[in-house]
Amino acid sequence: MPAPQISSPGASSPASALPYVLQVSGVSKTFGGLKAVQSVSFNVAEKEIHSVIGPNGAGKTTLFNCLSGIYVPDTGSVIFAGKDITGKQPHQVCGAGLARTFQNIRLFGEMSALENVMAGQSLHRSFSPFGLLFHTPGYQREEKESRETAHELLKTVGLSHLANTWARNLAYGLQRRLEIARALATRPKLLLLDEPAAGMNPAETDNMIELIGHLRDRGLAIILIEHHMKLVMQISDHIMVLDRGAKLSDGTPEEVRNDPKVIAAYLGREA
């Protein structure tokens, strides 16, 4: 593996110059009396790494679930690539080009790494009964292409030697990488990464930083939830801080780092 060095974050092109790929306005989600997310609004530009940080229970994962269709937000709207995807089914959201990974890894355990990625390609496969029963040339070509693409994706995340291993039997860090490969298989424009470096040692974290930078270079926009401050500060173009469901602060890593409200939320206010 080459040294985990990516383009320096400060030098990245100004996000405002690019068109927004995701526009979230006033999204709220309440569970009983708990306001998990309170009218959060933000925009994500193309090729931008947008981090969402905040203390535990701040509503970061709930926000992700609202964006990816697992929860329907109570209020607000999610506009993705010009289309309103608020309250759409998860597979429709995914079809629009928004893929995600999960905080608690959710791979298809009894499928090989390759099959996991191929399952992620379902959106782009035809399900014609005639083709798959009689293995028409079109079907065979599609199946072959699908496998080749899946192998390439596994190579991207560095798993090509483990293509036939069951996902369940992969090491923890590799499972996180496989989740990313599977999400990439859906050919997204925007990737939601929910704590991709959770529980990783420093070397694995560096590899993850490198991988995320590589994904951005491929033209993906990324929203990142992460507690690992080194990772967040190193690669983010933009950081949003959530606390108790509401947006606390917003800006470049430098701005957020120096925001007294953020310091107070993380470290407590001076008495």
């Binding site: 998860p90 597979h91 893929a99 355990g109 798959l132 029963l133 496998r147 293509a163 036939n164």
Partner: protein
């Protein structure tokens, strides 16, 4: 388990061959001895005692030696079955059959994937073979044996169908017999003299397949969003409701059922070799179709849903639609299984849709190995044939007892089922 580390080099499993040897026999056998004692104690009143009711309404228990001796004499074959199972599993594991199968299976599998018409080769060969008059040799085995072969074939179709929904997609369905009953009655009603007299069974087969699928779709539509136990109960309710409906409708002949006319039957006694051949062809066709669907994006989507529904949805798999597809496909196979059994026996009554049938097929699937096509076929053959072959020795009252004890033993020792192994991972070099 005796993994025989002495004889086999066993390069792949350095896990714990010696761990079992270190334990004392008491620690190993203790739980089973305790279980056996518990069994003896719990069953004691049912086996060795008999309740007597006097005319004055008093109840007293009486020592019932004959009953007890009869029970244990009947248990002999049960132990034999257990021994057969143990032997099969031991051979399977000891001779590393799975590995050997994999070695030969992988090239064959790749070849199968490449040949567009591969599933049709065997049926066509069988048909040619049949027309050349060579089926005469099948007259040699007794008609009873052919009868059993035919019924095993029908159960195999049912088990494969149920496997789609339980084994592949991971939805628990307890009312499978409802769909079997639907197929049987759709055919039986259609061939009545005042409907379509002389309807041949082979013409009805594709129609009933599609109708079964549609009914599965309609039943699934409202309840597929339910999970686990709830879906099981809803389907169970459907099966029971269907049975009651058939019991009370004039159209379905109430509890008398419907006689299948000679023209619509699979054939009579003398045609059994032919019927057997038809069934073999249909089983092979069904197995090939299911095999191909399983090894396609559809099959991958089903397994993905079984493994993690939320993640499957987030990866762009239309969860509800794929579940409905599995549900209706399994109902379609159930329906043709029902049609074939009606057309074979020549008579149908609402009891085809009873709960015991659902449980029998479920037991075949679980015992054979959830999600494993060969396993399910073996399960169907074994569970149907064992009680049949033991018919002379065991009273059928003990059939459910055999089921129950086999299930318990299997779940304890081999939860993945008889031939249920690791799923065969997609093999692919380069890319």
């Amino acid at each position: 388990m005796e993994d025989a580390p002495a004889t086999t080099p066993s390069a792949s499993s350095p896990v714990t061959p010696a761990a079992g040897a270190g334990k004392s026999w008491i620690a190993l056998a203790g739980p089973y001895v305790l279980g056996a004692i518990a069994f003896l104690v719990i069953t004691f009143p049912f086996i060795w005692l008999k309740l007597n009711f006097t005319s004055t309404g008093e109840v007293f228990a009486q020592w019932n030696q004959a009953g007890g001796i009869k029970f244990w004499r009947n248990m002999g074959p049960v132990f034999c079955i257990a021994a057969v199972f143990a032997l099969i599993i031991w051979i399977y594991d000891h001779f590393k059959i799975q590995k050997q199968v994999d070695v030969y299976w992988t090239p064959a599998d790749k070849w199968m994937q490449k040949q567009p018409l591969a599933p049709f080769v065997l049926p066509v060969l069988l048909i040619i073979y049949g027309f050349s008059g060579q089926f005469n040799f099948l007259y040699a085995p007794s008609p009873t044996l052919l009868n059993q072969g035919i019924l095993v074939g029908i159960y195999m179709i049912l088990a494969m169908g149920l496997n789609i929904v339980i084994g592949y997609t991971g939805l628990l369905v307890l009312g499978y017999a409802g769909f079997v009953g639907f197929g049987a009655f759709a055919f039986a009603v259609a061939q009545k003299p005042d409907m379509i007299p002389g309807l041949p069974w082979w013409a009805a087969l594709p129609v009933v397949f599609i109708m079964g699928g549609l009914v599965g779709w309609l039943i699934g539509l409202p309840c597929i969003r339910l999970r686990g136990d709830y879906l099981a109960i809803v389907t169970l309710g459907f099966a029971e409701g269907f049975r009651e409906l058939c019991m009370n409708l004039q159209l379905t002949g109430t509890f008398n059922g419907i006689q299948i006319s000679a023209a619509s039957k699979l054939g009579d006694f003398a045609d059994r070799p032919w019927i057997f051949a038809y069934i073999v062809v249909i089983v092979v066709l069904c197995a090939s179709a299911i095999y191909r669907i399983y090894h396609s994006p559809v099959g991958r989507a089903w397994i993905a849903i079984r493994e993690d529904e939320v993640a499957a949805g987030a990866m762009g798999i239309p969860v509800v639609r794929m579940k409905l597809l599995a549900f209706s496909l399994s109902a379609a196979f159930a329906a043709i299984g029902g049609l074939l059994s009606a057309a074979y026996t020549g008579y149908i009554n609402p009891e085809v849709a009873n709960f015991e049938k659902s449980v029998t097929v479920l037991a075949m699937v679980i015992l054979g190995g959830l999600g494993s096509l060969p396993g399910v076929l073996a399960g169907a053959a074994l569970l149907y044939l064992l009680p049949e072959l033991l018919r002379d020795y065991v009273s059928m009252d003990y059939r459910l007892l055999i089921f129950g004890s086999m299930m318990i033993v299997m779940m304890l020792f081999r939860p993945q089922g008889l031939l249920g192994t690791s799923r065969h991972a997609t093999e692919m070099k380069g890319g």
